[in-house]
Symmetry: C2
Subunit: 335 residues, 2 copies
């Protein structure tokens, strides 16, 4: 009896699978509707088609289909300043009453007075110090909640939208398309990992355990016998430039077969992917649309794409021309 | 037509699912055949049953079902020395001809002469220095290959088996049982991450991207224009004690609901799990079987379980009595 029941269930499951496949193949809609037809879209579709073709010469087993995405400028906007920097500056203003000494110390003094020019012109080191002064002293869960609250309450000045509504619709489609084809999608961002966790799964469908980012140290403690982690004002790791392939190797332990970035900070991740033994795909988002978003590359202070453009041309990587390749930039507004 | 086809496939899939569920429920074999019946086995099965019961009071959504496992002494044997230490000592002997200076320097001199007592009696710091001297200077892929070769060629002196055959059969069943119930199983080991990657997926079904371990630094470089990572003789992170919850928080970003260890080095991981807001489960493997494996706890140099035993009693964690709870220790030999 049990044997016949098992056999029946296998037969029925096979029939159901066959019907589903037939239906899907015959009636599937374009998976990338916000991408204009052309060589960029074709390059993406051809790559995915080839690596998923069982018994094809470029087939890659599902477990090896790792795709890594930068965030700022690749999945959401990064101008006129990184979203996390806008958050950081707001945190300085919120925390100012607890730090009366800040009134006399730069860059806090200027930020509190509403003058952001000095801090935005400053170097990465100064900016990291600000991040640490404002992102430490609480548990990871408390920090994530602060990030969520801020993202829910803050709008970009130009687009009058929350930042979580300023993701790139074509890239959201690309993420889903890759996952539908058995890829595991990872974020690899220079941004702070716990700030990114406040929105990453909801915005991109990327779960917390598939986010690699910069981090500050935490300290394990047992106040009142209950285990906690406290965020310390001390840099742990910066997942930018060389740090991207280093972290990918340490944390994922597989080399990506597809990598997506938009700046010279992503170059090493693309080079690492490009040097892999399997078929692979490297793509740069080139910001060419000053009307619908921003246009910037070789000389931009934020998201500079200079050496990366030359390397892309040299190695035949795909470069998205945002203005011509993307039908829409942002998702439909949910306001 | 398409609509009817879709409807048909849904109906057939539902029937197949129903048959499969009926079959599974009625005829499923014991998922933990190497565990003796008793309170340990019941505690495991009850926990898994409760957190997977949809609409039950202890239900935990699948995405949150994270289980973390220590390796040495929890999933495979760790006596009379950590397997990675045996590997390290062999590496010293293999590399000795390239390092004539070692003949005059301790602990290399003694190791080369076959006297391991000093190094095994030494502290963690000395042992890490040995690891770094022997594990650096190559790419991660080259190192993993060296590890694989060694594991394939080396036998444990007492059991006359390769180390990959000295995993614990009851724990292999537990890993599979958890995964069958929607858990994502992670390894969180103080061992070197790339040594563990040489066997982890094959032995335990845990893929590289679900391994957290200790690491040495790597350096990104572009010799001849081709991206490479080179392993440096420099500690990056030690995933032991406080380092376990810290790394879990940074890399997984979710708190485990089940944690498995065997020593005081795993205590903080269990405490972190135990302090979580969801239903959770903490388990210690207690080595009580000197005949079939080893018996050690409070005073052992390797895998000491002292404070952990007290904490387990205090918090009601499950403690495996290896001698009485496990029908078999190791998997059937494949020799």
């Amino acid at each position: 009896m049990d044997h016949r029941l098992k056999k029946l269930s296998i037969i029925l499951a096979t029939i159901a699978l066959f019907c589903t496949i037939t239906f899907t193949a015959a009636y599937a809609a374009d998976p990338l509707p916000s991408w204009n037809d052309g060589k960029t879209k074709s390059a993406i579709v051809n790559f995915v088609t080839e690596v998923t073709k069982v018994k094809g010469p470029s087939f890659v087993p599902q477990a090896e289909r790792i795709a890594t995405f930068d965030n700022d400028g690749t999945l959401w906007l990064e101008q006129p300043m990184y979203v996390q920097m806008a958050f950081t500056l707001d945190r300085v203003r919120v925390l100012a009453p607890l730090h009366p000494e800040w009134k006399e110390i730069e860059p806090y003094k200027s930020i509190i007075a509403g003058d952001l020019s000095a801090v935005l012109a400053g170097g990465t080191k100064e900016q990291f110090e600000l991040v640490m002064a404002t992102h430490a002293g609480m548990t990871p869960a408390e920090f994530e909640e602060i990030g969520k609250q801020w993202l829910g309450a803050t709008e970009d000045a130009r687009f009058k939208r929350r930042y979580t509504q300023l993701t790139y619709q074509p890239m959201l489609e690309l993420l889903a398309y890759l996952r539908d084809n058995g890829f595991k999608t990872y974020m690899v961002t220079g941004g702070g990992i716990e700030f990114v966790r406040a929105f990453c799964e909801k915005c991109y469908g990327i779960p917390p355990e598939q986010i690699i980012g910069s981090s500050i140290k935490t300290k394990f403690d047992l106040p009142d016998g209950k285990a906690t982690l406290l965020r310390l004002p001390e840099i742990d790791f910066i997942a930018d430039r060389d740090g991207k392939p280093e972290a990918i190797n340490r944390i994922i332990g597989r080399r990506p077969i597809a990598a997506f970035g938009n700046s010279d900070g992503d170059l090493q991740m693309l080079q690492w992917t490009d040097a892999g033994p399997r078929p692979h795909f490297c793509l740069y988002v080139h910001h060419t649309d000053a009307v619908r978003e921003y246009a910037y590359d070789r000389t931009s202070k934020i998201g500079r794409l200079d050496k990366g453009l030359d390397e892309a041309a040299k190695h035949g990587w795909t470069v998205v021309d945002m203005k011509n390749d993307w039908k829409t930039i942002f998702p439909p507004s949910t306001k």
